[in-house]
Amino acid sequence: MNSVSVQEADFDVGAEIAALSAGRNDVGAVASFVGLVRADKLAGEGSEVSAMTLEHYPGMTEKSLEAIVLDAGSRWQLLGTRVIHRFGRLTPGERIVFVGVASSHRGDAFAACEFIMDYLKTRAPFWKKEDTPEGGRWVDAREADDSAAARWEAPAG
């Protein structure tokens, strides 16, 4: 019921969400998240991003996503989890990542979905390079992501 994919191809959000409850009647809640490429940069910086290229560490990426999903499953009551992360060249508006979590109850589904996203940002070996009019620029790790992940380090509620 858990599945992780790292791929260049786009994915079908509706089909992925439907698959999390297909053929069963104990799923009451599916929380999901889609991350997309933003053209605008962080406040204070100037130029537009025309495209980005996501590099990853094949093998370790899948392993780390599977570990994150397993960790979520030990913290909340989940009935299924789906993670898809793309790599390669992506333009503004394109989907980058999908996380979908099925549970009997919405509290568990929401918490696990947000947890997986927070950890994915800080643990999964992906690196963004933005193509700007001034050339390629590797994105720095953001402190906001580190602190978002850190709040899960306390004993699970």
Binding site: Y57, P125, W138
Partner: protein
């Protein structure tokens, strides 16, 4: 001891290497030893100096400087991740 070393993202570009296979002297016992050994190559390799923000993995798991390095390990150096 023979190991494989991978470099990713900005570090890969800085070093000009995506991977290499190394035979290590017996004095290298830990990941921290290996990092210092590589940084001593000088030039671009100073990007691996202790003060730099570099992450490390052994056999596809994040690892710290004290982790022991063993024969046939797959070791990776890379900048902090920026996925999602």
């Amino acid at each position: 001891m023979s190991i494989k070393v991978l470099y990713f993202a900005s570090l890969r570009e800085t070093l000009g290497y995506s991977h290499e296979t190394l035979t290590l002297p017996a004095t290298i016992a830990t990941l921290g030893d290996l990092r210092a050994h590589l940084a001593k190559r000088g030039g671009a390799w100073e990007a691996l100096d202790v003060g730099r923000n570099v992450r490390m993995a052994i056999n596809q798991e994040m690892a710290g400087a004290d982790t022991a390095v063993a024969d046939r390990d797959e070791i990776a150096f890379f900048p902090p991740v920026t996925g999602g």
